[in-house]
């Protein structure tokens, strides 16, 4: 055993933190991309107790540090998926939060003797029944650290995801989660960070059955929430003589959320949701952005951030050969990847999210497409790191490599967007992970 190893072994007792893994690292001589400034060549980054202690060309490795030779390697802030479902199992469709009074049985609006046996009555409900609503549930309470998607994402360089429950119209509250932890609680960086809304409809027989129904439902719920808040506050100050406000967990969930996420892909939707967002009197974030390329003005004027889905529209594999796609479809496909560049130029705040991209390794390809369409490399990195953190108000602790921030980073053997680049290691909260080597595809020679 060499002297060096002995020293390490000795230092090991001091240097090892929780669960026997080291809590002091120094990656030396690497190119460090901080996302808060230009890349620093031949630099060292020191990580202690889960936080970044030092970055610099001349930062020395502290005594007892587990050193990693970073020659030829690149260090990046851990990637952040700005709107994710990793780690949270898909939920079953949600019934009405407050089911309507039991239908049928001689009710005024229900069955009578003439009604055939197989017939049901739809809840002549409306917003009051709180359909499709689980606004109170939190991703932080549902996340499972051993989830396969989560692990795959981490292996691809992701350290953080802003995870939301996404079933129904009021999906629930999201949390900023680091993608590692012995217990689920260890993963939570910030919770709740927002309410996930979709304008889904419940089909033909159940409210809301149309976009206008969904929008009016959301509007009513936010009005009800405001009323509920006022009522509760008045009641809390002095309950005497007042009717007790009925507990409504759907409204509690809405009130708890510091911001609201609204879906918006096309320009028409983006402008519509910007106008609608103003009515809700809560900060909004839009997600989707397939026509972001032509919506910069509206987003800029409104100061609303945009989360861009990395699943760029693709040509149908098996379309009808005798028919051309519409010009609109063709242009959207052509220009969607240029959206991020347009937004960057206009000074609109935006970040990327995985969206429909199933494999985290494909996410980098998708980002590359935006770069090829004009997005600057630094802006691409920021959109997957610091900008996502900023949008959710956690940029003081995440998203870039700066002293004092959480040690979320990943190390590669080349430019993170280059096709052949491999992720060598990933640090989450200062804990090191090494992705398993990807087996070489059969038949390919080196």
């Amino acid at each position: 055993m060499t002297r060096r190893h002995l020293l390490l072994a000795a230092a090991g007792a001091l240097a090892f933190g929780q669960s026997g893994s080291p809590n002091l690292y120094a990656i030396q001589n690497a190119t460090i991309h901080t996302a808060s400034g230009p890349p620093i060549a031949n630099a060292t980054i020191v990580v202690r107790n889960g936080l970044i202690e030092a970055i610099g060309a001349s930062a020395p490795a502290p005594a007892g540090a587990w050193t990693i030779d970073g020659k030829g390697l690149h260090v990046y802030p851990g990637l952040i998926d700005a709107l994710s479902t990793w780690g949270v199992p898909a939920a079953a469709p949600v019934a009405a939060a407050r089911p309507a009074a039991a239908p049928g049985g001689g009710g005024r609006r229900g069955a009578n003797d003439d009604t055939p046996a197989n017939v049901q009555f739809q809840d002549d409900g409306g917003p009051e029944e709180r359909p499709s609503n689980t606004s109170w549930i939190k991703a932080a309470d549902l996340v499972q650290s051993a989830d396969a998607n989560l692990i795959a994402a981490r292996n691809a360089g992701f350290t953080t995801a802003i995870v939301f429950p996404t079933t129904g119209i009021f999906g629930g509250q999201g949390s900023v989660l680091n993608l590692a932890g012995d217990r689920a609680g260890d993963m939570v960086v910030s919770s709740p960070v927002g309410q996930y809304l979709s304008m889904s409809t419940r089909g033909f027989s159940a409210f809301p059955g149309s976009l206008m129904g969904s929008i009016s439902y959301v509007r009513q719920v936010y009005l009800d929430a405001e009323h509920y808040k006022t009522a509760k506050s008045m009641y809390a100050q002095n309950a005497r003589g007042l009717q007790r406000p009925a507990y409504d967990r759907a409204l509690e969930g809405v009130l708890e959320s510091p911001r609201t996420l609204l879906p918006a892909g096309r320009k028409v939707e983006i402008e519509r949701m910007i106008r609608f967002g103003k009515e809700l009197k809560t900060p909004i974030i839009l997600y989707g952005g397939v026509e972001a390329w032509r919506s910069a003005d509206a987003l800029k004027t409104a100061g609303v951030p945009m989360l861009i889905n990395l699943q760029w529209p693709e040509r149908e594999r098996e379309g009808d050969p005798d028919f051309l796609d519409s010009l609109r479809t063709l242009e959207t496909r052509e220009l969607a990847p240029s959206g991020p560049a347009v937004l960057a130029k206009a000074g609109v705040r935006f970040a990327f999210y995985s969206g429909g991209v199933a494999r985290p390794a494909d996410i980098r390809k998708a980002v590359k497409k935006a770069v090829d369409a004009g997005l600057a490399n630094e802006d691409a990195l920021k959109a997957m790191t610091i900008e996502a953190a900023r949008i959710y108000g956690v940029d003081d602790r995440l998203g870039s490599l700066e002293n004092g921030k959480i040690a979320n980073l990943f190390v590669t053997d080349g430019d993170w967007l280059a096709e052949k680049t491999l992720v060598k290691m990933v640090f989450v909260d200062g804990r090191k992970f090494e992705p398993p080597p990807t087996p070489a595809p059969a038949g390919r020679t080196e």
């Binding site: 098996e318 009808d320 028919f323 519409s326 609109r328």
Partner: protein, 419 residues
Amino acid sequence: MKISVALLALAAFAADDSFVLRNVTIHSVTSAVIPNATLVVTGGKIADFGTKITIPKGAKIVDGKGLHVYPGLIDSASNIGMAEVSSVRETSDMVELGDFNPQLRSVSAINPSSDHIPVTRGNGITTSLIYPGGGIIGGQAALVHLDGWTWEEMAVEKNVTMQMRMPTIATTTFNPVFGAARRPFAETKRRYEERLKLMSEFFEQARAYQRRKAVGDAGFAIDRRLEAMLPVLDGKESLMVFAPRERAVKDALAFATKEKVKIILAGVREAGSAVKEIADRKIPVILGETLELPLDDDAAYDSPFTLPAELHRAGVTIAFGTFSVQFARNLPFQVANAVGFGLPYEEALKAVTINPAKIWGVDDRIGSIEKGKWADLILTDGDPLEGRSQVKQMWIQGRSVSLETRHTKLYEHYSKRPE
């Protein structure tokens, strides 16, 4: 002798289907327009017309009041008489179950008391082709006059053509209640190919039947479905093939070549590169409605309006059909729209008179004002294709036909409601 001839002559003019129409402008369609003219109808047929006509003695004179007389218009695709209220299934007989029903005929399912018949007549239509729907081969269409005590009396040709619908690949379907639905191309393509195969097999079956019958095969038994196919296979009966889009049109043309049958294309809404072949093969086209939306978002806004002119310029013989029950009376307006967008007026008029008469093989009897043809006539105060014109009188086979309808009666009745 002389007296009896005179009596006979008198008797001829005493019948309802003989009269003399004076003081009219005659639009014969097949010859020049004649102002200040006279038209003589004897025994339901056009006997003579022009400016220097000798009025037969004792003739019943009808004063045309300077109005216009045209041949009655012909609708080459309609379902009137086969449905009363389209949303009520009990009133509709247009679509039977099954894919191959060549033995069905629409003629005897036409309700001569349908309110749609007088209503349609009101706008100058005297003859309509009434077709069955359904499946791939729906049955035989009938060409009928819009007047008669029974369907038998109405019939001009009981089984004038065999109706067929080309299978298509429909990735987008539209349900009036649930809206649009998209199906994957692979699935709809497979279904289309299956149906083309079914069609091909059916024709094979029919030919096999034809051969067995010709040979006097032992144990040969009549199969009414296949029996009904024989005139089609012999080229004696045409197939009216519904083919709305270019691909279906091309399929129809290929099918006609392969099966060696005589086809008429119907409901065509785009022809694309098939136009030349249609013209070269002299296949007539019954146009789809002009008053329709363009086929896709990027199509020229006037594409349904310009198609008739486009086909005419390419040398295709065109006719118009309404493909409707409740809008059958709007045939003239379907045609007029095409005129605004490039179809020469004379051709437009032909497309609802002499062209369909020729296509359906009845131009010896109707379709223009010519000596010897039936007096299927309308008297109008102007161009019958124009919205502001009115049809003042109508004759079918020389009989004056009432233009009173359910609508005119309700109008009169409620006009009289006291204030």
